[in-house]
C-alpha cells in the first residue's frame, strides 16, 4: 500500500475521532475516496482503530455499496426491481452493457462500473439507475447509450441532470430529475372520474412551528398521552402503537436516550419517504424532536439509505436552519426544557437495515445483523441506550397530531387504524405516484385512482406483504386487513405472476443477512422448487413443500425479514393458487417429474467422453 493511501485512510479515521462505532462512515468514505476498501485499507483501518482486521472485513463484505474490489470513478447501478423489469430493465441493461463494452459487475478501462441493484425508491419513474449518487429516471435504451456517451465526455454524473424535477427536486442543493408524483384525488387531470378530494394530513402544506411549541408547552407524559389518544400506529409496516413504544422508552432506566428515524426505505415499490424527505423534512425533524422530548432523549439519528444520498446536502441545510432558528440545539425553542440535535447516519446498501435492530447495529458501525430480542431497543438499543425507532411517515404524523390535536387525526381512518396512509403506487397503471388515502380505503378505489383497474394481481406491502387477486380487491387498506408499509404494485393482464414471485425471492436471497438457518436456506429452497414448477417439472406435492418451507421460515426466523420472506410464495399460493396448479402434474411411471435425468448424468458423460440417449 502506498503511503499516500495509508495517509488517506488514517485521515478519514481521524475525521471520525478514530471511533470504532463510526466504522460504517469510515468505510463509506474510504470507498468514496479510493474506489474500494481493499485488503490494504482494511489493514490500515484495523490498525488505526485497534480492531481485529476480520471485524472490518466482516462489515465491508456485508454492505452492497462497499467493495474490496476497486470500482470505477463512476458507478452505474441499474435498479433490478420487478417494476423496472416490467418496464424495460433488460433492454436498458443491454444498452448500457453494449455501449460500455462490459458485462454487469465489470469496470471499463476508462473507469465506469456497471452494476445492478435492488429497488432504489424510484418505481414511479422506472426504469431508473443511480450514477454514483445521482438518480437517472425513466430510462430506455436510447437514454442509456446517451448517458454513457455523456459520461465519457466529462465523467461528471451531476451533469447528466438537464431537466429538473418538481418541488424541492429543483432546489439548488438537490438538483435532481426526480419527480414527486404526488397525486391529488380530485384534480381533473389526475382523476377524470371527478371523485371527491382525498384527505391531506401527512402531505398537507409544510409544517408550522406550532407542533413543537404545543408539545413543549405540555409535559412529556401529556405528549405521550396525546399520541396514544390519536391511536397512531407505526407506518413502516408492523403497526406497533407509537405511544406505547414511546412510553416503554421513556420508562427505561437511563439518562441518555436516543430517537432514530428509520429512513432506510428499502421495501421494493416504496418511495413515499423519498417524497417526504424531499418535501416535508421539517415535519420529520419536528416529529423527531417531539419524540425526543416525550421519551427524554437528547440525541436523534436520521438513518438514511445510501440510495437517497443525493438528498444529504439539502437535509443538512434544513438541519442547519433549524439549529439557527433554535428548533434544534442545547435549548430547543429557548424554553429551558429540551436539548436535542440530529445527525444523519448513511446506510450502505442493505435492505435488512430497515429492520429496527439491524438498523441499530448499522448505526453502531457494525454489520447490519438484527439483534436478539429481548432486550428490546426501548430497553437497550443504540450503544446499549434506550432507543426509539420510528418510521419517517410516523414522525410526520406525530407532528400533524401535535399541530391539530389527536381528535382531528382520529376523524380519519377506522377504529384499528386511525389517520391516513401514504401509498406508493407503481407498476401497470396510468398514474403511478404517491396517494394519501384514509385507512379503510378499498384497494379497488386505489386501483381506480391510479388507473390500474385491469390488474390481475396487486402486491400490497411489497415483497414482504401479500399478493392478492381480483377476488380481494374489495378489501381495505388498514392494519387488520391489507396491511402495508406503503408499497402497492400493480400487475396487468399480460404479466406472468410466477416471474414476479421469483423476482421477489431473488430479492430476499440477495438481501438476507444470512444469520439464521430458516431465512438463509429457506429462501433458496423456495426458489429452487418454484423454478422447477415454472419449468413445467413440478408435481402437486411441490406446492405442499413450498407451503411447509414457508411456514418453517415464518415460525423459526429470527427477524421480520425471514418471517416474511416466504410471503410472496405463501400469499400467491393462497390467493392465486390456480396459477401454480396450471403448471404442475402428478408424477408418471413412478418417476419424479423434477428429476432431470439428462442433467443428472451430464457430468458423467463429460468425464466419460460420450453421450447417452434419454427418454
Amino acid at each position: 500500500m502506498s503511503t499516500d493511501h495509508a495517509r488517506t485512510v488514517s485521515q478519514i479515521c481521524a475525521t471520525y475521532g478514530n471511533d470504532a462505532t463510526r466504522l460504517l462512515d469510515i468505510c463509506r468514505q474510504v470507498q468514496g475516496t479510493l474506489g474500494c476498501v481493499d485488503d490494504d485499507s482494511i489493514d490500515a483501518i484495523a490498525a488505526t482503530l485497534e480492531l481485529p482486521r476480520v471485524e472490518v472485513e466482516s462489515l465491508v463484505t456485508f454492505y452492497s455499496f462497499l467493495s474490496k474490489q476497486k470500482k470505477g470513478r463512476v458507478v452505474i447501478r441499474l435498479c433490478n426491481d420487478i417494476i423496472d423489469r416490467l418496464l424495460g430493465f433488460d433492454q436498458v441493461l443491454a444498452a448500457f452493457s453494449e455501449e460500455l463494452g462490459i458485462e454487469p459487475g465489470q469496470t471499463t478501462a476508462d473507469g465506469i462500473t456497471l452494476e445492478t441493484t435492488a429497488c432504489i425508491g424510484m418505481s414511479d419513474q422506472a426504469p431508473a439507475a443511480l450514477v454514483n449518487e445521482v438518480p437517472v429516471t425513466e430510462l430506455n435504451s436510447d437514454r442509456a447509450r446517451l448517458i454513457v456517451r455523456e459520461l465519457r465526455r466529462h465523467m461528471d454524473p451531476r451533469r447528466l441532470v438537464t431537466k429538473l424535477g418538481d418541488g424541492n427536486n429543483a432546489h439548488e442543493l438537490v438538483r435532481s430529475m426526480v419527480w414527486n408524483n404526488i397525486r391529488r384525488h380530485s384534480s381533473a387531470a389526475d382523476d377524470p372520474s371527478g371523485a371527491t378530494a382525498g384527505p391531506r394530513l401527512i402531505l398537507s402544506p409544510n409544517t408550522r412551528p406550532e407542533a413543537m411549541r404545543k408539545a413543549l408547552s405540555i409535559s412529556p407524559a401529556e405528549v405521550i398521552r396525546a399520541i396514544k389518544t390519536s391511536r397512531l400506529r407505526g407506518r413502516g409496516g408492523a403497526g406497533f402503537p407509537t405511544g406505547m413504544k414511546w412510553e416503554f422508552t421513556r420508562a427505561a432506566p437511563g439518562t441518555r436516550k436516543v430517537v432514530i428515524c428509520n429512513a432506510d426505505e428499502g421495501e421494493p415499490g416504496t418511495f413515499k419517504d423519498r417524497v417526504l424527505l424531499t418535501e416535508r423534512p421539517d415535519r420529520i425533524f419536528a416529529g423527531m424532536t417531539i419524540a425526543g422530548y416525550a421519551i427524554g432523549a437528547n440525541e436523534g439519528i436520521l438513518y438514511l439509505r445510501a440510495e437517497y444520498a443525493y438528498l444529504v446536502p439539502y437535509l443538512e441545510m434544513v438541519l442547519r436552519k433549524r439549529r439557527e432558528a433554535g428548533l434544534l440545539g442545547p435549548d430547543v425553542l429557548g424554553k429551558g426544557k429540551q436539548c436535542f440535535d440530529i445527525r444523519i447516519q448513511m446506510g450502505a446498501g442493505a435492505y435488512v437495515c430497515g429492520e429496527e435492530t439491524a438498523l441499530i447495529s448499522s448505526c453502531e458501525g457494525r454489520r447490519g445483523d438484527p439483534k436478539n430480542r429481548p432486550p428490546f431497543p426501548a430497553q437497550r438499543g443504540y450503544l446499549g441506550l434506550p432507543t426509539c425507532v420510528n418510521n419517517v411517515e410516523t414522525l410526520c404524523a406525530v407532528t400533524k397530531i401535535m399541530e391539530e390535536g389527536p381528535a382531528s387525526f382520529c376523524e380519519h381512518g377506522n377504529q384499528q387504524s386511525s389517520g391516513t396512509k401514504l401509498l406508493s403506487v407503481s407498476g401497470d397503471c396510468l398514474r403511478p405516484g404517491i396517494y394519501e388515502v384514509e385507512f379503510g380505503t378499498r384497494l379497488s378505489r386505489v386501483l381506480e385512482l391510479a388507473g390500474g383497474e385491469d390488474a390481475i394481481a396487486v402486491q400490497v406491502g411489497g415483497p414482504s406483504g401479500q399478493m392478492v387477486g381480483p377476488d380481494r380487491f374489495d378489501h381495505n387498506i388498514c392494519f387488520d386487513d391489507l396491511g402495508t408499509g406503503g408499497s402497492v404494485m400493480l400487475f396487468g393482464p399480460r404479466r406472468n405472476l410466477l416471474e414476479v414471485v421469483h423476482a421477489f425471492l431473488e430479492f430476499f436471497e440477495h438481501e438476507s443477512c444470512g444469520y439464521c438457518t430458516p431465512c438463509r436456506v429457506g429462501i433458496v429452497q423456495l426458489r429452487l422448487v418454484l423454478e422447477r414448477v415454472m419449468a413445467g417439472r413440478g408435481e402437486p406435492g411441490d406446492l405442499d413443500s413450498m407451503e411447509r418451507i414457508g411456514k418453517t421460515m415464518r415460525q423459526a426466523s429470527r427477524c421480520g425479514l425471514g418471517q416474511t420472506a416466504a410471503n410472496p410464495v405463501l400469499s400467491s399460493l393462497k390467493n392465486l393458487r390456480s396459477v401454480y396448479e396450471a403448471l404442475v402434474r402428478p408424477a408418471e411411471l413412478g418417476r419424479r417429474r423434477g428429476f432431470d435425468l439428462a442433467a443428472a448424468v451430464h457430468l458423467g458423460e463429460v468425464l466419460a467422453g460420450r453421450q447417452s440417449t434419454h427418454t
Binding site: R53, S58, F62, Y515, R520, V521, V524, L528, V529, S545
Partner: protein, 238 residues
Amino acid sequence: MTDKILFTIDGVELAAEPGQTIIEAADAAGIYIPRLCHQPGLNPFGSCRVCTVRCNGRPCSACTQPPAPGMVVENDVPDLQALRAELVEMLFVEGNHFCMFCEKSGRCELQALAYRFGILAPRLDYCWPQREVDMSHPDLLIDHNRCILCARCVRTSQQVDGKNVFQFIGRGTKKRLAVNSRASLAGTDAAAADAAVAACPVGALLKKRVGYAVPMGRRRFDKVPIGSPGDIAPGQEQ
C-alpha cells in the same frame, strides 16, 4: 427462593434463576431442548433456530428467550419437532456433508440430531456449493463444506480463548467463516489447544493427525443418542 421465575415446559413446572434463558433452565431441570448453536457458557447467538419452542403461543428461540413468570412453553410437540427436523435438513442440503467419510462422524452434533429426528434422506434440494478447505495451519484445518455458521468457534475464541481468530464475512448465501488474517488460518494466532477448536459441533474445524482415532461403535453418539438423559447439554466435546 422468592426471586425464582416459575414457568412450565410441556406442563412440567420449572423454577428459573433470574438471568437464565429457557434452555439454561431446561438443562438445569434435565429437560432436553434440541440445539446446535447454543453452548453453555457462551453468549447466546440464536442462529440455528433448532431450539425453537413456543412461549405463550409464540415461536421463539429457547437459547435467547428468558422465561417470564407463568410462561407456558411448548417443547416436545410434534409440529415443533417437525420444524426442527426441517431446520437440520436445511443445514444438510446447504453444505456438503458426507457423513460416511467425515472424521467427525459419530461425534457430530448435526449428524446426531438427524438420527434423533429420523432423517434418512433430505426432501429438500441439495445446493452443492463450491467451498474451500483451509489446510494452511500446521495443526488445524477448516473445511468450509461442513460449516453450519453457528459461531461457536467465533464466540469461544473471543469469550474463552481471549482471541479473535474467527468472524463471519459476506451476507446471505455468501456468508462464510473467515479468519483474522489476510491469507489463511496459518496467519492467525489460532492454536490446537484453543477451546474454539473443540467447540465446533461438526467437522468444519478439526485438529490434524487425530482423525478416526476412536473406532466405530465407540464414538460419542454411537453409545447414546444426542440429548439422552445425563447428556442433554453436550456443549464442548469431551
